[in-house]
């Protein structure tokens, strides 16, 4: 304890105060907090777009927005949620937790860390600002397919620059994470003793370094096609729009794993805590994560089954995609085996984690169904795909983020989150989530295309249901805001080890974690 006391006395922050403190900070906890706040703001912005979409789709016909604006909304909703909400939120978790979990005093490159964050608001302003330029925001879909993306107005250029900036931010963040994890672990913490959250982030960071530059290249080619007379994708000059899809999905599929692997990491921390048992099959989890990452480079064309690929190509990508579901299944199996005969309790973080396993797995299964080429040719570009990726991204990535937030809030704020509010948030979310997205499976199977502002009458009932669910889900997220604000303001004091069964270095420092931790590297047994 003696080592901790002086730390505590020096907890007071030195250096600039007020706004300048946040702008100039190099402290991983401050930066983590900023990432989390930023992503929550983006989450709400993307949510408002989603609710506008659902308001338009509440009944057939055009009531709320014009089709052109509708297309801008679906595009921007996707871009904002993927690049503004989910990815930065995970980086926020990485900033807060990785140094605490491996016993490092900060991230390896603290100054670069500050830059990684402050690029994001710039990109966000550029992206959201594109709504207000002539012609409006890009409406080419979040995948920015050519030839549409080659034709749009200047909103498209702003989106391209925003993607460049966010890409640079992600790559710098990823490099920081790799270096921190590889070089700054406390003595005694070997790779195979490292908490799983760090493992999944390490692998995610490698994925980011590998594929974010490819996306940057793809949008750069779009940019030069638009303004500098090249024809990578414009058929006129001998280019090929289908090639854009290949390059995009070479990034795009690993990208979906970038958004889910850290979620797997968070859940793998939480389940053992509340089952009061070590994680079942730690090593197999590490290998499963690595093999998912490697395989994710060989499945991209499952997004392109209807582009007229030769049958051999379809078969290859179909089997490769099914193969990638195997390590994913190993993980689900391991989480369930961890809970098996554990002394389970269901505090808020555990509820979210168990909810994650249940609902995410449904998304995994619909993914497998989409992987079957003959079926996918039917459901491609229908609401079935929309249902699939919201089951894995909302009930997967987002639910895991909430689980992690409730789990580590005591460490961040020094107060236990209110169980009643947290549970209300969970139950409202999971019920409304399913009301929103389950009917989309039926809509897709019945043939309703995605990204349309109006639809045939036979789709009316399920759409109305989905819209009601969406408004319920959206409003439920305000409960989270209440929970966090209340937790920051006060509440039951959190112990250093805030949860009874929690293991790991982060639970050895006081709650809230002092501004500087592990100045003197701890020894990990």
């Amino acid at each position: 304890m003696a080592a901790v006391m002086p730390d505590h006395l020096h907890d007071a922050h030195h250096g600039p105060t007020g706004l300048m403190r946040w702008i100039t900070t190099t402290n991983h906890k401050d930066i983590g907090t900023m990432y989390l706040i930023f992503s929550f703001i983006m989450f709400l912005s993307g949510g408002v777009m989603a609710l506008t979409i659902r308001a338009e789709l509440f009944q057939p016909g055009l009531q709320v927005v014009q089709p052109e604006f509708f297309n801008q909304l679906t595009t921007m909703h996707g871009l904002v949620m993927v690049f503004g909400a989910i990815m930065p939120a995970f980086v926020g978790f990485a900033n807060w937790q990785i140094p605490l979990m491996i016993g490092a005093s900060d991230m390896a490159f603290a100054r670069m860390n500050n830059w990684s964050f402050w690029l994001l608001p710039v990109a966000a302003v550029l992206l959201i600002g594109s709504f207000f330029v002539p012609g409006g925001a890009t409406a080419a879909g979040w995948t920015l397919y050519a030839p549409l993306s080659v034709q749009m107005g200047m909103g498209m250029d702003m989106a391209i620059f925003a993607i460049h900036i966010m890409g640079v931010s992600s790559i710098m963040g990823a490099i920081n994470i790799v270096v921190t994890i590889l070089n700054m672990r406390a003595p005694g913490m070997t790779m195979m003793k490292m908490p799983l959250f760090c493992w999944t982030w390490l692998i995610t960071a490698y994925l980011l370094i590998a594929v974010m530059p490819v996306l940057a290249g793809a949008v750069t080619m779009v940019l030069t096609d638009r303004h500098f007379g090249t024809s990578f994708f414009s058929a006129a000059g001998g280019g090929d729009p289908v090639m854009y899809q290949h390059i995009f999905w070479f990034f795009g599929h690993p990208e979906v794993y970038i958004m889910i692997l850290p979620a797997f990491g968070i859940v793998s921390q939480i389940i053992p805590t509340f089952a009061r048992k070590p994680l079942f099959g730690y090593a197999s989890m590490v290998y499963a994560t690595s093999s998912i990452a490697i395989l994710s480079f060989s499945v991209w064309a499952h997004h392109m089954f209807t582009t007229g690929m030769p049958a051999v190509g379809q078969l290859f990508f179909m089997y490769a995609t099914m193969l990638i579901a195997v390590p994913t299944g190993v993980k689900v199996f391991n989480w369930i085996a961890t809970m098996w005969r554990g002394s389970l309790t269901f505090e808020t973080p555990m509820l979210w984690a168990v909810g994650f396993i249940f609902v995410f797995t449904m998304g995994g299964f619909t993914g497998l169904i989409c992987a079957i080429a003959p079926i996918d040719i039917q459901v491609q570009d229908t609401y079935y795909v929309v249902a699939h990726f919201h089951y894995v991204l909302v009930a997967g990535s987002l639910f895991a983020l909430f689980a992690g937030a409730y789990y580590w809030l005591p460490k961040w704020t020094g107060h236990m989150p209110d169980e009643r509010i947290g549970k209300l948030h969970f139950w409202c979310s999971i019920v409304f989530f399913n009301i929103t997205f389950f009917p989309m499976h039926f809509l897709g199977l019945a043939g309703m295309p995605r990204r349309i502002p109006d639809y045939a009458l036979q789709f009316a009932d399920f759409n109305m249901m989905a819209s009601i669910g969406a408004f319920g889900f959206g409003l439920s997220q305000l409960i989270f805001l209440v929970a966090v604000v209340k937790c920051v303001r006060g509440g039951e004091k959190a112990a250093a080890r805030s949860w009874e069964g929690a293991e790991g270095l982060e639970w050895t420092v006081p709650s809230p974690a002092p501004h500087h931790t592990f100045e003197e590297a701890p020894v990990f047994k």
Partner: protein
């Protein structure tokens, strides 16, 4: 705190390596372009710009296929039309049709025609031996030109296909000027 320097140096080395990896991957994205084209060439997918070869010249007079012709231009000041709306052909028979194109602008313009087929699957049974779409076409100011297309419908065409539509669209090559004009017009109309 006793040995901060070795770790810092080690960190910097790793930073440089990972940075290089990121730059290499940026280049790799562009490398995918020739790679993609090579694959298309080797596997024979997407060879829109090369004459097909015909192996089987047996004419199947028991079947008659209607081939319809369609012509479009995309933001291009050209008048472009087929001189016949449709022809009836037997699979295996060599047929030549003629298109006419004229440049209505008073300066030279280069265009490239891209073919497409309805039904889509008929494309692989439609063998073009000669086509203006195999190369770029440059028309002088006000020039008018007639251009032939020689083709054979492969007798392996599935039995349920009785009509094929061949549709060409002319695009302007590498001149963004027209597209920019059009964008300007659209923006002007919006404001």
């Amino acid at each position: 705190m006793s040995h901060p320097t070795p770790v810092a140096a080690e960190n910097r080395r790793l930073l440089v390596r990972l940075g290089i990896a990121a730059v290499v991957m940026f280049g790799f994205g562009f490398l995918l372009v020739p790679f993609y084209e090579k694959i298309c060439e080797v596997t024979g997918i997407n060879n829109l710009l090369k004459p097909d070869t015909v192996a089987n010249t047996q004419v199947d007079i028991t079947r008659t296929i209607t081939v319809q012709f369609d012509a479009n231009t995309h933001d291009l000041p050209w008048r472009f039309r087929p001189l016949q709306t449709h022809v009836k052909v037997h699979p295996g028979e060599l047929v030549t049709v003629v298109y006419e194109v004229s440049n209505t602008r008073n300066e030279p313009v280069t265009g490239q025609a891209v073919p497409s087929y309805g039904p889509q699957l008929a494309g692989q049974f439609f063998r073009k031996l000669e086509c203006f779409c195999f190369s770029k076409q440059t028309l002088a100011a006000g020039e008018k030109r007639t251009m032939p297309v020689a083709f054979v419908v492969d007798p392996a065409l599935p039995a349920d296909v009785t009509t094929i539509t061949l549709s060409y669209t002319f695009f302007e090559v590498a001149g963004r000027r027209i597209a920019d004009d059009a964008a300007g017009r659209r923006a002007g109309a919006a404001s």
